[in-house]
Every structure is written in C-alpha cells, then in structure tokens.
Amino acid sequence: MMTTNAAHRTDSAPVFGFWLYLMSDCLLFAALFATYAVLRTNTFGGPDADALFNLPYALVETLILLTSSFVAGLGMVAASRGSKTGTLSAFIIALLLGLAFLGLEVHEFAGLIAAGAGPSRSAFLSSYFALVGTHGLHVALGSFWMILALVHTAKSGLHQDTMRRLTLVSMFWHFLDIIWIFIFTFVYIFGSI
C-alpha cells in the first residue's frame, strides 16, 4: 500500500524547484518564438509558411500530444490512488502517444528537407527548425526520462522516490504540451491565415 508522501504535494520543494526550471525553459522558448516572429517573412525567395505547412497534419500532431498530456495526468491520478498497474499502463500510453508525435514531426522535417526547404534555405526556415526542433528535442528527452521513471516504478513500486519522479515527469509533459499550443498557433495557424 502507498504511504502518504510529501513529494507528491504540489507545494513540496522538488516540485517548486522543478517549476522554476520550467519557468526558465519558458524564457528559452520566448527567445525562439521572438526569433521566429521576426524572421517568419524573411523567406529569401523560398517557400513561405503558407506554402509549406499542412494544417490538418499539425492538428493531428496537436491532438496526439494533448491526449498524451491528458493520459499522463490520469497516470498521476492512478499513482495517487496507489494503483501501480493503472499508473504504468497510463504512462505507457502517454509515452507511445509522445513517440507517435515525434515520429510525425521527424516525418514532417524529412519531407521539408527532401523538398529543398531545409534549415539552410532561408532565415524563416532556420528559425522554424530551431523553434520546432527544440520542442521536439524536449519531447525526445522527456520520453527517455519517462521510460526511466517507468522502469523504476515497475521494479520498485510506488513509493516516495518514484512518486516524485512521476510527478516531475508529468509536469514536464504538461509543460511541453502548453509550449506546443503556442507553436501550433503562431507557426501553423498564423501560417495558414
């Protein structure tokens, strides 16, 4: 049975410390968003956002990542109830959805590069790959971290250490979904207007 633990409380020190990291990560993304906003019309005679991006494709990516974030939340609900099986299955689904998102993004990048619209084509594309690529890298690292947390939980069960780990991973996952909302809006929606 699970014991009451302080690590899961939203006002505990590790959670607050990790929150401060997330806020500083916001600033990294703010700089990348600002760069993209400034350079998005500098296409150097190459294709612009309207010509390159496929809104339905981006919408599918958005819904997959959103669902992944939601399922990770359900995983935390299961964890707070002490259900190891529930926690593991929810996080495995969240992880698979995250990997599906990454697969779609890699496919999109490969398509752009194959069509001659790689990061070196124009300032617009450099800033696009920097912004979306940095988010993708975060998702990739988050997936790896989630695998570690899952293995840890599968081996030793739900206790203070694994609860803390799962709490922080799920916070990271929700944060990445929030960043993606703004990428979806400023890159894909604005690009289609």
């Binding site: 899961h8 409380r9 939203t10 006002d11 959670v15 607050f16 929150w19 401060l20 806020m23 500083s24 916001c26 600033l27 703010a30 700089a31 968003f33 600002a34 760069t35 906003a37 400034v38 809104l55 339905p56 919408l59 958005t62 819904l63 959103l66 669902t67 974030s69 939601f70 939340g73 359900l74 935390m76 609900v77 707070s80 916070m171 929700h174 944060f175 979904d177 929030i178 909302i181 703004f182 979806f184 809006t185 400023f186 929606i189 604005f190 289609s192 207007i193």
Partner: protein, 119 residues
C-alpha cells in the same frame, strides 16, 4: 487531491479550444475571405491559445491550488513578464529597425524628385 475529473474537464476544454482555431479558418475560406477578416483571425487565434494556456495551467498543472503562499503562481507571473519583455521587445525593436532601413532605389528617386525636381 488529484482527481480524474480535473483532467477530464481540462482535456475536453482543450480539445474544443484546439479545434476552434482551424474551424474559424475554415469559416473564413467558406465565406470567401470576408468573415472573419484576417485581423480578426489573428486576434482569435491568440485568444484561443491564451485560454488553453489558462485551462491547462489550472486543470493539468493545478496552478493556484497550492496551500499557503502561492510561490508557483508568483514564479509564473514573473516568467510571463520576462516573456513579454523578451518577445514583445524583440518584435518592437525589429519593427522599428525595419522602418529605419534604407529604402530601395525607386523609393529614393521618388523622394528626391519630390524634394527638388529630381536628378
């Protein structure tokens, strides 16, 4: 304290907000680009994104539901201020620089001819 209800409400609201932006875009094309207009679409997209940010902060990250001093909320407000300074400031400066760039040759000739009868 962590309830599935919170996540389900947050998820439903997020899906609706996500689908609204492409729906407005579709309405724009359906109405032959007359309604909603481009400035309205840009504004609506930003409003929808900010609403979804608030929804996910409240229902997924449980911000503002801390007991005692709300340190996470304060750190968030500080981060938002810095984000506005970085992103807003960059856009402001670059826009201003754009306005000060040397005009192209045709514009310069036009300006000179307006000044003193040209060259």
């Amino acid at each position: 304290m962590t309830s599935a209800r919170s996540y389900i409400i947050g998820y439903i609201l997020s899906v609706i907000l996500t689908l609204l932006a492409p729906a407005l875009l579709w309405l724009h094309i359906y109405n032959h680009h007359r309604f909603p207009t481009h400035p309205e679409l840009y504004a609506a997209a930003v409003v929808l994104a900010v609403l979804q940010l608030v929804v996910q902060l409240v229902f997924f990250l449980h911000i503002g539901r801390e007991s005692g001093p709300r340190w996470r909320l304060m750190a968030l407000f500080f981060a938002i201020v810095i984000v506005f300074i970085v992103a807003g400031g960059a856009l402001w400066i670059m826009q201003d620089l754009n306005g000060r760039m040397m005009p192209d040759q045709a514009q310069m000739l036009q300006y000179m001819s307006e000044q003193d009868g040209g060259i």
